[in-house]
């Protein structure tokens, strides 16, 4: 007698309008109503319920446009502390059904599954969705397929509150023939435009195209997608996040600004957050980039390489200032800022700057240590650079001290 090994597959779990669903878990009043979660200090809709989506509101829309589309909408403030709590509860459920789970984003996981003895993948997908609903109260959609690219396409197609396992080629092809290529993660405007002249517009077109053509049009990563669409798993589920190539902090200002003093304050705020992250990962930055998108559509960029990699506030601020000057466009109105650390090296590999007076380094380390201890005891940013004074209202709002990027361990963002 031979024991048949259970068939293997990949699952994708994705919460339905996650931030809104998370708000509804703790606030029944919001159920059934058009709800928008506001981010960017209240300026934009960062998540909307299906009711609000039906009225024409899209993610990222300024609240003033959303009001026109959906005057009956109810607006709530984002709370990433709460969303992270629910995210980790959902992750726990996924870990009960799978030995290998990738924490892809705050509301999306990939995981490996084996066909249950005496059961089906479809039954498994149903049970995962129901278990999350019963245990966490968040509606999710689960897709199960032979590859992660297929699993994600399937869960996208089955939304909301769906569960769908598609394992045979016929069913896969029916699904792929309905979906435009742009629904595949990683194929946006420019790559889709390269495919169009070859008549490749649906996912099925891409799957049936010549592999070498796809490689020439979309490089090796496009070829990976081709294999995946054809049911060959080449992208694995990463239970542990690979080491970061870059770390960054920043985002929208909420209120746009052309004031250099305010820009400088944002630089210091983002740098202090970035340094927390460098410290957490035990790395030093060898290169710092400041990117500033402007209302006009222009992008200002300043980039500096450090002679010696560092995670020190004084050293990084010294190089960040001239980078900010380069990224600054006088009188133009800036909307966002990103401070990006690259060429990361493990702190233990850093030899330190041999040309710096030793006392300076000792003092900077002592200040950093003090800052960490005070903030650990009295709350994040309790002790911070006085250069952030121009942003007092941002610090006064506790919601700003825990953002989506502060939810650690995600493989996407």
């Amino acid at each position: 007698m031979t024991i048949k090994q259970g068939m293997k597959a990949i699952g994708h779990l994705d919460a339905d309008c996650f931030y809104v669903s998370a708000e509804r878990v703790r606030d029944g009043f919001l159920r059934g109503k058009p709800v928008g979660v506001l981010g960017n200090q209240g300026a934009c809709v960062i998540a909307k319920s299906y009711e609000m989506k039906g009225a024409g509101v899209s993610t990222g829309m300024p609240i003033w446009d959303a009001l026109v589309k959906c005057p009956e909408g109810v607006y709530v403030k984002r709370d990433f502390r709460w969303y992270e709590v629910l995210s980790r509860l959902m992750l726990e459920v996924a870990r009960e059904v799978s030995p290998r789970v990738e924490y892809y984003s705050i509301d999306e996981f990939f995981f490996t599954v084996v066909e249950p003895r005496g059961g089906t993948f479809q039954g498994l997908a149903d049970s995962i969705r129901d278990r999350v609903w019963e245990r966490v109260g968040v509606p999710v959609t689960v897709g199960i397929a032979r590859t992660r690219t297929l699993a994600k396409l399937i869960s996208d197609a089955a939304k909301p509150f769906g569960a769908l396992a598609v394992m045979d080629r016929g069913a896969e092809e029916r699904l792929l023939s309905d979906r435009p290529v742009t629904e595949i993660t990683g194929i946006a405007g420019r790559r889709a435009a390269r495919l169009a002249p070859w008549g490749i517009t649906t996912c099925l077109d891409l799957a049936r195209a010549d592999r070498r053509l796809v490689r020439s049009l979309l490089t090796a990563s496009g070829e990976e997608l081709w294999w995946e669409l054809n049911g060959d798993p080449v992208r694995s589920v990463q239970a542990r996040r690979p080491a970061h190539k870059a770390l960054s902090r920043g985002g929208s200002f909420g209120e746009s600004t052309s004031d250099p003093a305010v820009l400088h304050a944002w630089l210091v705020r983002n740098l202090e957050r970035l340094i927390e992250e460098l410290e957490y990962h035990g790395v030093s930055a060898g290169r710092l980039t400041i990117a500033i998108p402007y209302k006009s559509g222009q992008l200002g960029v300043g980039q500096v390489n450090l002679a010696v990699p560092s995670d020190r506030f004084d050293v990084l601020l010294d190089v960040a200032r001239p980078a900010l000057r380069k990224a600054w466009i006088p009188r133009a109105t800036a909307t966002h800022m990103h401070v990006i650390a690259e060429h990361l090296t493990s702190r233990s590999d850093c030899s330190g700057d041999l040309f710096e007076p030793p006392a300076r380094g000792v003092r900077a380390r002592a200040v950093a240590q003090l800052k960490r201890e005070v903030n650990a005891r009295h709350g994040r940013f309790a002790l911070r650079s006085a250069a952030t004074l121009a942003l007092a209202p941002i610090y006064r709002d506790a919601a700003n001290s825990h953002d989506i990027c502060d939810v650690r361990g995600k493989s996407c963002f």
Partner: protein, 155 residues
Amino acid sequence: MCLGIALASSEIPNELFARHALGHRVHERGGEPEVRFLYRDRHPRLPVWRDGRLQIARWGNAGRKSRFLPETGWTWQATIDQGYWKNLNPVMVDIPASLGLERGVWYRIRQGVRGLLVPDENRVAVVYMICEPSSHYYQIMTRSTRMPLLIEERI
């Protein structure tokens, strides 16, 4: 400033509906009825908790029904602190609300808003909504420089 509130109908006893003819203030949102109290109503009213009972009070002194009360529906917390209302024997009350309305934005309120209840010359109860300077979030969301004083909530 907050130009109106909505309260889920389920929060209001039937007896109050009839007594204050609230029927015409009922609207539906997502299939759930709610009662809207707007300052621009012909007879502006607000619900208030007084002596452990929910009551409906006149909101402010629009149309100068009273000759000596201020002709507005709001007061700053700072004005109360400075003692300007002292001689009117004011009572602090809670205004229950599910939603606030400001410049077209309906935003969620978890419990309600603080209010100040005073009698006019005919001993009719008049409620003023208490406000404070807007938080950064509130100001960006509504473009208003003042916000209602929310009960045990910061947005």
